[in-house]
C-alpha cells in the first residue's frame, strides 16, 4: 500500500463523507473552538457531561478529510469515558500520529488506529489532533481555575479561546 492510501484509509474517507455527531448541541454544558491560523482550519466541539463521564459530544467545522474524520471518530471513541480516560486516549492517539507509540499498542486505540498513516506526513499531525486539543479545552473549561481556551456554557467569564494555536501548529505551511 502506498503511503497515500495508508493516509486516506477507507474508514477515514467514509467518516469524511458522513461525519458522525456533526451537529450543534443545544443542551451542551461546555464547548471550545479550535483554530489553526496556519491553514485556516476551524472546529467547534460541544460536550454534555453525565456525572463524571462524557454523556454526549458533537462537533462542527471546516477542515481537511483528516481533521474531519479525526473529529468524527473521536466523538465515537470518547462517549461514556471520563475526562481522565479521554486524556489518556488522546495521549496514545498523539503518539500514534507522531509515530512514537510503542509497537503493539495500536490495538488499544480501536478504530482510531486508522490514523497510523498520518505519522508519515508530519504536516498533517495538526490536522489529526486539532479536534482532540479542542475537546481537551472544552473539558478543562469545567475545571475551576483551568487555564483552558474552552468555555463553560452559562459561565459569562469563560474565555472563548483557541486552544490549538500553540501545539502542533508549528509544523504547518509557511506564509
Amino acid at each position: 500500500m502506498s503511503s497515500l492510501s495508508e493516509l486516506y484509509q477507507n474508514v477515514i474517507l467514509e467518516h469524511n463523507r458522513s461525519p458522525r455527531n456533526y451537529r450543534v448541541m443545544d443542551d451542551a454544558d461546555r464547548k471550545a473552538d479550535g483554530y489553526n491560523p496556519l491553514c485556516g482550519d476551524q472546529v467547534t466541539v460541544w460536550v454534555r457531561m453525565d456525572g463524571d463521564v462524557i454523556g454526549d459530544v458533537s462537533f462542527r467545522g471546516a477542515g481537511c478529510a483528516i481533521s474531519k474524520a479525526s473529529a468524527s471518530l473521536m466523538t465515537g471513541a470518547v462517549k461514556g469515558k471520563s475526562r481522565e480516560e479521554t486524556e489518556k486516549l488522546f495521549e496514545r492517539f498523539h503518539q500514534l500520529v507522531t509515530g512514537t507509540l510503542p509497537p503493539g499498542e495500536s490495538e488499544t486505540l480501536g478504530k482510531l488506529a486508522v490514523f497510523s498513516g498520518v505519522s508519515a506526513f508530519p504536516v498533517r499531525v495538526k490536522c489529526a489532533s486539532m479536534a482532540w486539543h479542542t475537546l481537551k479545552a472544552a473539558l478543562e473549561a469545567g475545571q475551576a481555575g483551568g487555564r483552558s481556551g474552552g468555555q463553560a456554557i452559562g459561565d459569562p467569564d469563560g474565555p472563548a479561546g483557541r486552544p490549538d494555536r500553540a501545539k502542533d501548529g508549528a509544523a504547518g505551511p509557511p506564509a
Binding site: 502506498s2 503511503s3 497515500l4 486516506y8 474517507l13 491553514c39 477542515g63 481537511c64 483528516i66 498533517r124
Partner: protein, 414 residues
C-alpha cells in the same frame, strides 16, 4: 497569443530546465513537477555557484577593510546594486536598498517614512487583495500614529473595484500601498493608472512587487511609484535578500529605521549623524553572499529574456486555465482579464489540503491554504484554495500531470 509574443523568439524550455539542478530530482518516486513558484522559485546553477564561489574564494566583509578580498567584495556588492537598478529601471543605484525581502522592505517604509510622516486622521489605502505583508505593517503603523487603514474592494472576478478606488482616495489619504500581481488570484492590477490618480493628489505610493518582479517587466520610472519592494528568492535568487526601491527625494528625507554599523556618518557617545541613502537603511553586515546570488539571478533572467519569459508563461497559464477549467467539479478562483502565473482553484467537496496531498503523491508540488491572504479567502467564501503557480521552466506536460492529479483527487474522494 499577443503581438508581442509572436515577435519574441520562443524559449527553449527543455534546455533551460537543465540549468536548474533540482528539476531533475524525483519525489515520492516520480519526477518532480514544481508548480509552487509563487511561494519560492528554483535556482539556476549560476546562482548556486555564485553563492558557493563567494564563500569558497571571495568571502570578506564589505565597506571595511583595505585588504584585497574586502575591496573585491565591496566592488561586487555595489555592482549588484547597479544591476538591480537596471533591472527595474531605477534612475540611480542610490535608490536601491538591500533588505531581507519584500516584507522587510514594506516594514521599512512603514516604520521610517510612515512613522515620521503620518498623524491621527490620516488614511492609508490598501486593497482587499493584499498579502498579509502589505496589510499588517500598515495596521501596526496605524496603531502607532492614529491613522486608519482602508481597503479597495475586489469584484467577483478578482479585480479591484476601481470606482470604489476613486471614491476611497480622499484628502486624508497619505499612502497608497498596492500589490502589482496577486499571489492568491494571479490578477495583474492596473498599478500605473492607480499611481497616477494617487499622485495627482500628492499621495505617496508603494507597490508590492513580490510576484511581479519574476514574471512581468518592471520599470519603476514608468510606473512612477515612490516605493517598489520585491524578494530575491522569488526571482530565482537566494532567500534572505530583497530589494526596496525608493524615490531618491523620499529616501533622503527619511530617518533611519535600524541603527548600527555602516549606516552612519559620524558617531560620538552623545549623538550620531546618518549616512546618505541607501547605506542609511542598511545597518549591520548585509547578506553579502545572497547579494552575489541575486546578481547572478537577475543576470540569468535578463539572459533568458523577460519578453520570452512573459510570452511562454502567458501561453502556459492559458493552457492550464483551459485544461483545469474543463474538469468537472473544479472552480477557478480569480478570473480577472489580466492575469499571470497563478491558477487558484477549489475541488468541490474536497478540502485543498487533501487535493495537495494527492497531487504530492504524484510528484506535483502546489501550495494549499490561505496563501497569507485571508481577506481574499473571505471575499470568495472559501477557507483555502489549491494554487498552481508557474515559472518559465514549466512545461505543458507538467500541466498535464497537474490535470491527471486533479482527476485522481476526484476519484479518491468520490
Amino acid at each position: 497569443m499577443t503581438a508581442t509574443a509572436s515577435a519574441t523568439p520562443a524559449l527553449d524550455v527543455e534546455r533551460l530546465r537543465e540549468d536548474f539542478p533540482i528539476l531533475a530530482e524525483r519525489v515520492r518516486g516520480k519526477p518532480l513537477v514544481y508548480l509552487d513558484n509563487a511561494a519560492t522559485s528554483q535556482k539556476p546553477r549560476t546562482v548556486i555557484d555564485a553563492v558557493s564561489r563567494y564563500y569558497s574564494a571571495e568571502n570578506a566583509n564589505i565597506h571595511r577593510g583595505v585588504h584585497y578580498l574586502s575591496e573585491r567584495a565591496t566592488v561586487a556588492y555595489d555592482e549588484v546594486r547597479a544591476r538591480v537598478a537596471r533591472f527595474i529601471n531605477a534612475a540611480s543605484p542610490r535608490e536601491i536598498v538591500f533588505t531581507r525581502g519584500t516584507t522587510e522592505g514594506i516594514n521599512l517604509v512603514a516604520q521610517s517614512w510612515g512613522r515620521s510622516t503620518l498623524k491621527a486622521g490620516d488614511e492609508i489605502l490598501i486593497t482587499g487583495m493584499e498579502h498579509h505583508s502589505n496589510i499588517v505593517p500598515w495596521q501596526l503603523l496605524a496603531a502607532q500614529t492614529g491613522a486608519t487603514v482602508r481597503a479597495v474592494p475586489i469584484t467577483d472576478a478578482g479585480e479591484l473595484d476601481l470606482k470604489a478606488f476613486d471614491r476611497l482616495l480622499t484628502d486624508r489619504t497619505r499612502l497608497l500601498a498596492v500589490v502589482h500581481l496577486s499571489n492568491a488570484l494571479g490578477t495583474i492590477n492596473p498599478v500605473r493608472w492607480m499611481i497616477s490618480h494617487a499622485r495627482e493628489r500628492g499621495i505617496v505610493t508603494l507597490v508590492d512587487g513580490a510576484q511581479s518582479a519574476p514574471h512581468l517587466p518592471v520599470d519603476v520610472q514608468s510606473l512612477d511609484c515612490d516605493f517598489f519592494a520585491f524578494s530575491g528568492h522569488k526571482v530565482f535568487g537566494p532567500t534572505g535578500i530583497g530589494v526596496l526601491y525608493g524615490r531618491a527625494s523620499l529616501l533622503e528625507a527619511m530617518p533611519p529605521w535600524q541603527g548600527g554599523g555602516d549606516m552612519i556618518e559620524t558617531v560620538t557617545l552623545e549623538q550620531s549623524t546618518w549616512a546618505q541613502p541607501p547605506a542609511r537603511f542598511e545597518a549591520g553586515t548585509p547578506p553579502i553572499a545572497q547579494v552575489m546570488g541575486l546578481g547572478a539571478a537577475l543576470e540569468y533572467v535578463e539572459a533568458v529574456g523577460r519578453a520570452g519569459i512573459g510570452a511562454w508563461e502567458e501561453e502556459l497559464l492559458a493552457y492550464a486555465t483551459e485544461r483545469v477549467g474543463e474538469l468537472d467539479g473544479v472552480r477557478i478562483i480569480g478570473t480577472a482579464r489580466e492575469k499571470a502565473s497563478v491558477l487558484s482553484f477549489v475541488v468541490e467537496g474536497v478540502h485543498p489540503h487533501d487535493v495537495g496531498a494527492v497531487l504530492d503523491d504524484e510528484g506535483v508540488a502546489i501550495r494549499t491554504g490561505h496563501h497569507c491572504a485571508q481577506p481574499v479567502m473571505h471575499r470568495f467564501g472559501v477557507p483555502a484554495t489549491a494554487r498552481a503557480s508557474f515559472a518559465f521552466y514549466n512545461t505543458r506536460a507538467e500541466v498535464d500531470a497537474l490535470v491527471r492529479g486533479i482527476r485522481r483527487v476526484r476519484s479518491v474522494f468520490a
